[in-house]
Point group: C2
Chain length 406, copies 2
């Protein structure tokens, strides 16, 4: 009898964890497991803002797939997914095609620009290692250009972050740490550099407790970050960003707009004909796609409503990792035909947002709030726990964050 | 009686050394010494190619003026010279004006582009700390862009060096060392990067012994450098460089053309009405400008014919430093009115050109040739001797090059 083909698309938080679990849960003779990813490494999306600021090297953020996946057990295909044909059970790749019996879609997010003119062409995004590394270099390049040009262009020293969600705020924190170093490197006075956040709401970090939001804004403002709240980005040009506030349009000269204002599921999901809700597959409690008993969706590609609030659960690394456990368990049940499929039950522990290397805030489950060094430590514990879970003690030792202030 | 005002323009090799010597040779009550420079640091022009490759940090190349000039003794004015009015004994600065009784012009070189279209706008030059730092960052930025762009653009990985003089060849050597590091940092295969030199003559390093030239080219070729000799640069565009060879025009796609093909004296010299020879002041044997007994010119701004060969002495750091001794001696004679003015007699010791951090060639006076590690050591000895001369033991310890292979 043919062994079932299990194909996992994407080696993000959900995808790689599903592969790591399945390689332990299933025997060689039970199934063929194939992991498809664009790069030969997994990366921690939640650390990318540090790479983009230049405060952490991207090699700390990425983990070679071969270091955590047993390649004797799992086939790894480095390729880009073009489309999914669920009715034919086929995946079209840039350089080939794959057949599956069971599919896991963990293709992650892409940036949503909401049709704002110029954003796609002129703004930077913190999406992957390549885009984060480019932002780091773009900042440095503009500082070097500022010093080199005879006619000084202050726009080169204005850094605009569009959007005040977690990624935006965490990036502002890293910038606040990084700018003094850049000023030292490029002989520029700190006071000439502006770090500006534009957020549509009346405060950053929507969804966080107001007391935490206020703490975060004060902490960042004390380190030179300017907040423009209630400002709607109208257009991004190569040399400026235009926003509207209280009916008035203002242009800020800048060559560096980093857009963190929105994400959506990878558009392959929508294009492949799955029933979707704003681009995400509204999965059943067992994480399978409606109408397809052989297709699981996890992470940013999946949508699950919180029954109590009727708001979808947030697309966090925490939830993606928890989903990988349910997905792996259910795939094992399908393959072995022994158990009932289990339901996904998220365990929400709360959220911690860093504010640079020495400050953070945490909105912990059960209404506990954390500030300052306690939140900094909590953040590192979360990051380190993930590494331990993914690659054991040796991975933790190689990539973990142990220095309290780094 | 009014103390004479000695004004030194430029803190390059010749200017700063003249200031350092004069602060020891003259008493406070004998003269007022003023040093004018665009930056608050002196830099070693002959090390800039290392900063431009990213193999040496620019802080190693530059020396704060206050570290070597006694500011209780010498007035330092950080400003840019706009023009010299020798008949009025005045210097126009960007932010003011200075009167002098005795002037030393040590304003250095600027790049000569020989009217080649686009070179001024689109090529980079290794002229100062700012331009070298920009090249370093431009290389990195293009590697990052290459990885980020969906459509791969091989031109981003082509680096073209125009001109095969000492600076060009030394820069090629540093690039050959640096590229493997950049490839590691940006996940790029080494074989995809091209380092290309375009030189009009049939070999690089004109003036050097042919055996040395051949050694240099072989050494660089073995590390991946491509030489296009007999190639004339016709145009530099933002995305390519066009050269002609044997009547045929070829365009190489590149975003990084570093032009090392020619230098000329700072054009302020010519514009200020001095009698000049290709922009340089053909100084008298005592280094004074023809017709002006109160104006000395040194370094790249001065031209001195070698009586034997009827070819001008080269504009090297070696000669600029030697000229500062004659200039300082003669200024002292003018101020004190006691001695005869001395004549400048260059002592040509030879030239060493590095080929990266572990190879070099040396054309030493009396027809001695050096290759490989002996030349590497000789190069470091020359660099270290200068530091000792300029700022004594403490400067040597801070900025010297002691690691044989670094």
């Amino acid at each position: 009898m043919k062994k079932p083909d299990i194909v996992i698309l994407g080696a993000g938080y959900g995808g790689i964890m599903t592969a790591v679990k399945l390689q332990k849960m299933l025997n060689m003779n039970e199934a063929v497991i194939t992991l498809v990813n664009k790069y030969d490494y997994h990366y921690q999306t939640t650390w990318l803002h540090e790479n983009a600021a230049g405060t952490l090297h991207h090699d700390r953020t990425r983990i070679p797939i071969k270091d955590v996946v047993n390649l004797d057990r799992v086939n790894f295909v480095m390729d880009t997914v073009i489309s999914i044909k669920p009715d034919k059970k086929k995946i079209k790749l840039e350089n080939g095609e794959l057949y599956y019996d069971i599919l896991v879609i963990g293709l992650g997010f892409e940036t949503a620009t909401f049709g704002i003119p110029g954003l796609k062409e002129n703004a930077f995004t913190i999406e992957n290692i390549n885009s984060a590394r480019l932002i780091r270099d773009h900042l440095e390049y503009n500082f070097a250009m500022y010093q080199h040009e005879d006619e000084k262009n202050p726009g080169r020293l204005n850094i605009v972050v569009g959007g005040g969600g977690i990624t935006g705020v965490e990036y502002l924190g890293e910038l606040a740490n990084r700018i003094p170093e850049l000023c030292e490197e490029y002989d520029i006075y700190k006071t000439m550099v502006r770090i500006i956040n534009i957020e549509g709401e009346s405060a950053v970090l929507p969804g966080f407790d107001p007391q935490l939001t206020e703490y975060a804004m004060s902490s960042l403002e004390s380190r030179g970050v300017e907040f423009i709240t209630g400002g709607i980005v109208k257009e991004c040009k190569p040399d400026c960003i235009v926003y509207e506030k209280e009916g008035k349009e203002t242009a800020i000269p800048t060559y560096t707009t980093v857009w963190t204002g929105g994400v959506r599921a990878n558009s392959i999901v929508e294009e492949s004909g799955f029933e979707h809700n704003h681009g995400k597959i509204e999965v059943r409690p067992d994480l399978r796609a409606p109408g397809y008993d052989d297709v699981f969706a996890i992470g940013d590609c999946a949508l699950i409503m919180d029954g109590k609030t009727n708001i979808p659960y947030p697309s966090t690394a925490q939830i993606a990792v928890q989903q990988s456990e349910t997905a792996a368990h259910n795939i094992k049940a399908l393959v072995q035909g022994t158990e009932e499929l289990g339901e996904f039950k998220p365990s929400l522990l709360g959220t911690v947002a860093s504010l640079g290397n020495s400050d953070a805030i945490g909105d912990i489950f059960n209404n506990r709030k954390l500030f300052g060094w306690k939140a900094v430590i909590m953040k590192k514990i979360i990051d380190n726990r993930y590494l331990l879970k993914l690659g054991g003690f040796s991975l933790l030792m190689r990539k973990g964050k142990f220095n309290i202030f780094y």
